[in-house]
């Protein structure tokens, strides 16, 4: 691995997910708290082009700062440069609705189907669901085709799950993202890190 080689000029190996190996154990630190991971992610942010060549960018080579809090207020200060000019301004606020917490998504095997509205109300349940699958499976396919509204908390969760999975040589795919999902990921500058693109969207 590039990371193991101290003299390597590559800090973080983006292709690591391609090596299917049997890893074991939890993908998350013992306490399983999203918030803790958030803090880790953000404390090491550096963002500048120089950081791409430094030795310790590890999995924090994000292009923008996700909010440290999962309070659903979109912080765009760092991400604004990444904004695609054509992307529509959109509503990332949490909808005040009382969705049943256990209806946040449907699960079959290693597949998770995101609900139409993904918000902080159901992020904990989604987290547990993803964690459960990743504890036992090598790969998880998240179907994002039905998403009409998604908030910062959910996007952060997906990012954290993906980054942790890469570390354990597991694979997290976001399949068939809806336009709203793509817009939201673009807005936060997370589209590339989440490997979201439109090529496979809506074609199959």
């Amino acid at each position: 691995m590039a990371e193991d080689d101290e003299s390597s000029m590559i800090g973080y190996d983006p292709l690591a997910w391609m090596h299917e190996q049997t890893g074991s154990g939890s993908l998350f630190p013992a306490d399983n708290q999203v918030a803790v991971l958030d803090d880790e992610l953000c404390s090491e942010q550096s963002g500048g082009a120089d950081s791409l060549c430094s030795d310790n960018i590890d999995d924090t080579s994000l292009q923008s700062n996700p909010s440290t809090e999962t309070d659903c207020e979109v912080e765009l200060d760092a991400g604004i440069d990444e904004l695609n000019e054509e992307s529509q301004p959109m509503d990332l606020d949490v909808i005040e609705n009382s969705e049943q917490i256990n209806e946040s998504s449907a699960t079959v095997g290693n597949q998770v189907v995101l609900e139409s509205i993904q918000s902080i109300q159901n992020v904990t349940v989604l987290h547990q669901k993803l964690q459960q699958i990743l504890d036992t499976q090598e790969k998880i396919d998240i179907d994002a085709s039905a998403v009409t509204q998604i908030d910062t908390a959910t996007l952060q969760l997906l990012l954290i799950v993906k980054l942790s999975a890469v570390k354990s040589q597991k694979e997290v795919n976001i399949d068939f993202p809806s336009q709203k999902f793509i817009d939201a990921a673009n807005l936060l500058g997370l589209a590339e890190m989440l490997s979201v693109d439109q090529t496979a969207s809506g074609l199959f």
Partner: protein, 253 residues
Amino acid sequence: MTAQIIAVLNQKGGVGKTTTTVNLAHALANMDKRVTVVDLDPQSHLGVALGEVSKLQTGIDDVMLGHCDFTQQLIPIRENLNLIVAGPRLQEIEQLSEGGSHRGDLLRKALARGVGNADFVFIDCPPSSGILVANALFAVEELLIPMTSDFLALQGLSHLMGTIKKFETALSRKYRLSIVMSRYIANRRLSKDVLNTLKKYFPEQILATPIRETAALAECPSFGKTIFEYRPGWRSAKDFNDLASDFLARRVM
């Protein structure tokens, strides 16, 4: 015999897709292979690089829209080398945002009606992940990926491989995939590290000759010339000749 159809693909811009298509194709044509190159990029750089600059000339756009056949659009541009330009309406196809599942299949259907008697057809893809690239992925069984040796190119390749794997799953087949190291700067440590990382994930898939970064290769498109016309005998011409032999013999790193 049936033509070998290859998509030259990388959603990252400026990695050398067009340069590779033009010069590899001309090298193969010089080796008496019958080659056709297709410009699937609305920027029309492939046509320009070969000296075909007419904005009105229709090309693969009309083929995909079903207005004519592939063979009708062939422009003999060099000995053994035919060109199909992008055409003015290719941009419209990229922007077709409605219409559901049939849009991805336009190129595959068009090619199935026949590509003439070429040995090789190279499709120069645009730097995007949109509908045109999806068309290329539906249409071909072989991919040639030009890769520069920097970190963001690796990040981009990770993204590209995700897309490719999705198509492989959906189409229930595997692509034959080769990588060509492009714009290679040999005396830079990062280049070697990137190359070593690639070797780890793509064993037997990286063509043996890297194409080095040179001023001549950057200059020749503006003259509408390939490297074999602009600077024959120079090291970039040699690189592409070697690459063509690698390609034919499937000689890898």
